[in-house]
């Protein structure tokens, strides 16, 4: 809440206290859910196409984290299943669609526009296993799997048509150098401590997390909703922060948004009725 609003609230409380007939009243504003989950009883966290840092298995960690959060915060039953190696599956699909060149595309396996060109490129480049670290652009090439309605419909059928949560997770080291403002402690002649702002040049290292969450209807195999986020965190270069703790710190920031897709939430507050 901004300082302006806080001071206004204080003023209003004062005025409301003084003037008869103004009532402070609690209200609850409903948030419109991002997607209608009423037709689903269960949710399957299928797995994620992950890339970037090899220090964290973003596919496994994201699936684990979302499952535990959803068990606590959602009315949907979370299906216990092995986390799918979605990157390998997507890679295999791209290769097979490159081999089975046009004109025959199996029913339900219609790739997204431009996917075949990507598939050819990827088949030649062989991005899996050779590069130490996949770039965000390379990761995007695998997103054609989400347009493969037949694949998701089959998976949905296997688990009695749940809501399927999947997507891509890019988690990668990141560094930035530049001027930063820091507080410097100084003591005056009387020994009193005070702090002064100081601009210094610093090397900072950290991580960037760029996930795309995709919600798929297990009955039709179609994407019903998707959302993309980007978060980054930087530490002083001298600090040695483990990749996994950075990953959880970044995921913490965007979890409320992801979870809000599953439940009807409301925002509580107070307003003042006038007469």
């Amino acid at each position: 809440m901004s300082v302006k609003i806080l001071s206004s609230v204080a003023c209003v409380a004062l005025v409301a206290g003084c003037s008869a007939g103004n009532y402070e009243i609690p209200i609850e504003t409903p948030l419109t859910p991002k997607l209608d989950i009423s037709k689903f009883q269960r949710v399957l966290i299928a797995g994620f196409i992950s890339g970037g840092s090899e220090d964290v298995d973003a596919n496994l960690e994201t699936a684990r984290l979302l499952r535990s959060q959803l068990r606590r915060n959602s009315v949907l039953e979370v299906i216990d299943a092995d986390v799918m190696p979605l990157l390998d599956i997507a890679d295999e699909q791209i290769r097979s669609s490159a081999r089975n060149a046009p004109p025959t595309v199996p029913d339900g396996f219609a790739a997204a526009p431009g996917a075949e060109a990507d598939a050819d490129e990827n088949a030649e480049d062989d991005p899996l296993g050779e590069d130490d670290q996949m770039t965000e652009e390379e990761l995007e090439a695998y997103e054609t799997i989400f347009a493969n309605v037949g694949f998701w419909r089959d998976l949905g059928e296997e688990y009695q048509n749940p809501l399927i949560l999947t997507g891509t997770i890019y988690f990668s080291p990141h560094q930035q150098s530049g001027m930063v403002t820091r507080e410097r402690e100084v003591y005056d002649s009387f020994g009193r401590r005070r702090t002064t702002p100081e601009r210094t040049y610093r090397d900072r290292r950290g991580y960037v997390l760029s996930p795309k969450f995709i919600f798929i209807d297990g009955e039709t195999g179609a994407t019903v909703y998707s959302e993309r986020h980007r978060e980054e965190i930087l530490y002083d270069a001298s600090q040695n922060t483990p990749a996994l703790s950075s990953y959880f710190e970044l995921m913490d920031r965007l979890l409320p948004s992801v979870l809000s897709a599953f439940s009807n939430q409301s925002i509580r507050g107070t307003r003042t009725l006038l007469r």
């Binding site: 206004s8 209003v12 504003t29 925002i267 507050g269 307003r271 003042t272 009725l273 007469r275």
Partner: protein
């Protein structure tokens, strides 16, 4: 007809014409009072109805528009709430209570309309 009679007649006419306005204002006030009472008991649908009646009776009644904004906000009708708050502020731009309600509403409204895509 002397001047005194003319003034008396004019006053009489003024009172006669002012009376419906006074009625509307007091009806609006009664609606707001009742709306406030039921809102405090959590009967928001009835409260919103009363505040709507109040602004129909007296469209210049800033407090009624403010309360209607709160009612709409509680019902999740964010567009209507915005209009009601903004009308209230247009009618009474220096009212710090309305301004605060509106600022708080805007914070919530930003979160509701947040689209991460």
């Amino acid at each position: 007809m002397n001047r005194r009679t003319l003034v008396a007649l004019a006053l009489l006419l003024l009172c006669a014409s002012a009376h419906p306005l006074a009625d509307a204002a007091s009806d609006a006030r009664a609606q707001v009072d009742f709306g406030n009472k039921v809102a405090r008991r959590g009967l928001w649908r009835e409260a919103v109805y009363r505040f709507q009646r109040a602004v129909e009776y007296d469209p210049t009644y800033a407090a009624a528009w403010n309360n209607l904004g709160i009612g709409y906000e509680h019902e999740g009708r964010m567009g209507d709430a915005r209009e009601a708050y903004e009308t209230a502020l247009d009618l009474d731009p220096n009212n710090v209570t309305i301004e605060t309600n509106y600022d708080l509403f805007l914070e919530v409204s930003d979160r509701v309309s947040e689209d991460p895509q």
